[in-house]
Assembly symmetry: C2
Homo-oligomer: 272 residues x 2
């Protein structure tokens, strides 16, 4: 999916919601545990209940890998049923030397047909570029993350000016353009959002950290939206675990609907 198509989806659905498929056997409704593939059954129900309200799904690879090859198979089956007009994000945070990153790109873009993959910047240019060689596929590069540990290195002042996350954003934009490169910018970093947007005015940001982690949707939308929206705001636990009962899919839909309605209002206020 290219940037124009993504913006069309956002306008059509009045939503820039990304739903995180962080599917955890210890948190899904117990009646699903009888199924042959409970993770897939859960995802299928969540996708059927919410696909008209979100523009992206983001499976977090750790949740699948923790179940071994069976979990990886659940993810493959999940990818087969996500409607093709929904942007898909492999939240994998990969990054390795060039020939290895090429194989990760094959894993996510070819084997599983993801639109995008999250990538860690520490290993630099040759860890990122192989992902950018795939047409209409995206790198979503970690810039400023939503977690406590973001304070350890990302804010480090670099001699010559700026913080590490700013150096990452500056250099990465010499490797790829806004039609193939997004940045992860945590919603808990609201005080940095104007700076983030100023550094990458045309780029989409994937924004985790709204909800359970404490970020505020309206605040980051007002600070971060650009004229193509430029935001994919993720919510995982708050939506997919809204209920542990047999009504889990309906409950997830209700939560997603609340977020979509707030987003619709923010889009009207800010750009449409």
């Amino acid at each position: 999916m290219n940037r124009k198509e993504l913006f069309e989806q956002i306008k059509s659905k009045q939503s820039y919601l990304c739903i995180g498929l962080d599917t955890d056997l210890s948190k899904i409704p117990s009646h699903l545990l009888q199924a042959e593939d409970p993770i897939f059954e859960f995802n299928k129900a969540i996708i059927n209940a919410t696909s008209d309200l979100c523009v992206a799904y983001k499976p977090n690879l750790a949740f699948y890998e923790s179940q071994g090859s069976k979990g990886w198979r659940s993810l493959e089956k999940t990818m087969e049923i996500i409607p093709r007009n929904i942007f898909t994000i492999a939240d994998a945070k990969r990054g390795d030397i060039g020939n290895t990153s090429t194989l990760y790109a094959q894993a996510f873009f070819k084997q599983m047909n993801f639109d995008s993959v999250t990538v860690a910047p520490y290993m630099g240019i040759d860890s990122v570029k192989p992902f950018l060689a795939f047409e209409n596929r995206w790198v979503i590069l970690l810039a400023l993350t939503s977690n406590e540990g973001a304070n350890d290195f990302q804010f480090n002042q670099q001699e010559g000016g700026g913080m590490l996350f700013q150096d990452v954003m500056r250099k990465a934009q010499t490797w790829g353009h806004p039609d193939q490169l997004m940045f992860v910018c945590g919603a808990t970093q609201a005080e940095q959002f104007e700076k983030l947007r100023a550094m990458a005015p045309d780029s989409f940001f994937l924004v985790p950290g709204v909800g359970a982690q404490g970020g505020d949707l309206a605040t980051i939308s007002r600070l971060g939206m650009n004229k193509y929206c430029g935001l994919l705001v993720n919510s995982s636990r708050q939506i997919i675990y809204a209920s542990k009962g047999k009504d889990f899919a309906e409950a997830a839909r209700e939560e997603a609907l609340k977020v979509q309605q707030e987003m619709s209002g923010l889009l009207a206020e800010l750009i449409l």
Copy 2:
């Protein structure tokens, strides 16, 4: 495996060789492609031919993930046949927020029984600590990598002194001790090796980049060895793809033997 046991293995085998299982369907002997699981058959033959000459095996996850759930299964089967007195490294370069890193740790330490996993530092403390909670399991944290892109951020001068990789090594040693934390230090960074060793005198270093990438075994051994050896030097392509014929396992053994003999000499010269 703990640090003492690892050093015992090194002394007993006169080797600090780690063999990288970067198993690629396009590079393995063609006669194996008829097998039901060619990746596993290749790994099995390599392991049988080399397990007395190396102290560690390091499967690179990208090679398995690029084959989808089938590749993940090949890796699970490979882990089942690696002798338990050999240290195992999941070269996965993971790193995510705390609850996600916990799941990655489960994937590698519980599901697949790896001794260690490589971890990227960009997301800081809560991306690393969950791996350190597993007894006798190891984090191998990226410090100074062997690739071109190492120059993009890792050498950045930090205000207040030192380069980014030094800040990573300094902070990480407040999170974990040398019995659970190693560092990745590329063999192509020989001019930094004294600095690296001075920063972490007791830690093991996983050293990629000897061979195909241009690093020199004797040089980095003389600069980097400590009294417990403190080095695991990786070789992948040079050993496992020594021949594309039916003699591939014997050819791999011959290459591994050459490295082991050089290591035996270096151990005698430097510490034993």
